[in-house]
Symmetry: C2
Amino acid sequence: MAKDNIDLSTEEKIKEAARKVFTQKGYAATRTRDIVQEAGINLALLNYYFRSKEKLFEIIMFEKVQQLFGIILPILNEPSTTLEVKLQKIASTYIDMLIQNPDLPLFVLSEIRNNPEQFGDKLQLTKVINESVLIKQLKEKKPDLNPLHFLFNILGLTIFPFIAKPVFGAAQTFNEEMFVSIVNERKKLIPIWLASMLT
Amino acid sequence: MAKDNIDLSTEEKIKEAARKVFTQKGYAATRTRDIVQEAGINLALLNYYFRSKEKLFEIIMFEKVQQLFGIILPILNEPSTTLEVKLQKIASTYIDMLIQNPDLPLFVLSEIRNNPEQFGDKLQLTKVINESVLIKQLKEKKPDLNPLHFLFNILGLTIFPFIAKPVFGAAQTFNEEMFVSIVNERKKLIPIWLASMLT
DNA sequence: GTCTATAAGGGGATAGAC
DNA sequence: GTCTATCCCCTTATAGAC
């Protein structure tokens, strides 16, 4: 059990455990027994509260999609901040959130890939982003560049280190605090790099 | 069956099918029955040739890791090309390969994450890259910037669109040829952006 | 609401005929 | 080498007592 959440309701204990196990192992590799053990309860209770593994997963998945993409939408649509300020805010808030939730991007992107019609299509992310204030500002500044490039750049520079992290291994070459210190540096660097792409 | 590879040996038919199914669904979600159906043979033959699902997976996985990372190592260590030429080559060959194998990055990164000790640590990727000619050239040009930033940037700008692709959905907003055309543009753009980070 | 016991089926692996 | 039939464990889900 994570930290013996003895104060939480049973339903919330199961959700908390499910968040942890699903994001770490993915849907297919997760056993309901892993979740109930992590939650400190028994199998029957999971089905009593959530009917099935699949239904529980959908609930967690929608939460996690929201957590990954919902966080930047308000910034994208701020009406009065400049482009530069938006870029700083996106990099900064995103990296802070990802330091707390390093497994989030690989989990969400993998599961969306496994089930695009259920989780990807209804997002209409391209549409929402394309109509955002940020994209309007980009089009003014660089009318010749497809704004999708810029979107890939912001997200790629910010998210990719967290996706690639396991590759660099727990080997001596690389430890946790080094990683955190580097991505923290990137909060300042990414907006500078992105700005230089716009000149 | 993919394209009725009636000319291939049974062993190769199984590997071909395994490559396809494993990369599409991941280890945990793959059923050995999916593989043998794709290969057009029966369950017993898979075990006859490869002993177990796990052993077959290891073989495919090492191939795929090699495919994803092996491709850039020669370029990283070219002794006589300039930094700028290396960046062009990396972006170009990488994107060409990824257009042919769009599922590769998400698959490899997910599976390494699920089993870092088996697949990630022994790569010693950080070590190999840190000792490369490219990194030496970077240190000369920008001694104050941790070269890891640059590595994340090259790979992030190149790979991320392929990882994020399913998110943008098969919805009307986004189709396959649009995607290919955009990442093809990036073969030219990424080296320019990276160069501007070095000035 | 919570538990134990168990049903029902899926999925990896093998026996043994050809 | 290849096949069919089958074993048996593991996993999800439910029945039914408390």
